[in-house]
């Protein structure tokens, strides 16, 4: 399936883009992380969480193809 991923802050610094579309054949968040770690080797050392449809999700969550984002540590305030 075709998915769109948004990158923010330090993560966007690594990927050098803020958004991209990918063909994704896995099913879980952990599968997606594996794909991204291969594509962007520097991601492995970075601290991030994944949001799907604007909610944080765990590695075991199924990817439904809705809005996906890689979020580095929050720094509001």
């Amino acid at each position: 399936m075709q998915i769109t991923i948004k990158y923010f802050g330090q993560i966007a610094e690594v990927t050098k883009l803020e958004e991209e579309s990918l063909e994704f054949s896995g099913s879980l968040v952990s599968d997606l992380i594996e794909v991204l770690n291969k594509k962007y080797s520097k991601l492995i050392n970075k601290d991030f969480q994944i949001a799907q449809n604007q909610e944080l999700v765990s590695n075991e969550t199924e990817i439904t193809g809705q809005e996906i984002a890689l979020l580095p540590p929050f720094a509001g305030g």
């Binding site: 923010f8 720094a75 509001g76």
Partner: protein
């Protein structure tokens, strides 16, 4: 699915003392209010490895941040007897000494505003996807992380 977009909490650049003063002024027509409590986050000129922070550049996952702020607002109104509540956060560059976060709660009675304000500020820090790039005077940077 959310049926409408929540109100934006973001403002471009620093939050000015005039804006805050004016916001206080506007609440003087609400004569059921007995207590206001205001939190302001100010950018610190921290020294890290001999370099001094001169500004923070804020970015956000805006849709999610506005939705999370809306959720925090809803649960604050549910938990506490508040008359009103406002949240503003900066985007873009905020210099050391300038204000980047303004949270304002009001209630008939004082006890409730202390609890409510701390609840809201801690929730913003923990749940709202805002990112901060600390810019040093030599234009190098590091990424800020809430503790």
């Amino acid at each position: 699915m959310k049926d409408k977009k929540p109100k934006s909490v973001f403002k471009e650049g620093a939050i000015t003392s005039d804006f805050i003063g004016n916001s206080i002024y506007k609440h003087q027509t609400k004569t059921s209010i007995g207590a206001h409590n205001i939190f302001l986050g100010q950018v610190r000129a921290d020294e890290i490895d001999g370099k001094t922070v001169s500004a923070i550049e804020y970015t956000a996952y805006e849709d999610m941040a506005n939705q999370k702020s809306h959720d925090i607002r809803e649960s604050a109104f549910e938990k506490f007897e508040l008359t009103c509540m406002h949240i503003y956060h900066s985007l873009g560059t905020v210099k050391a000494g300038e204000i980047c976060l303004f949270v304002f709660v009001s209630s008939p009675r004082r006890k409730v505003v202390f609890e409510a304000l701390e609840f809201i500020v801690e929730a913003i820090k923990a749940d709202v996807p805002v990112f901060g790039k600390e810019i040093f005077e030599d234009e190098s940077h590091q990424w800020k992380k809430n503790t």
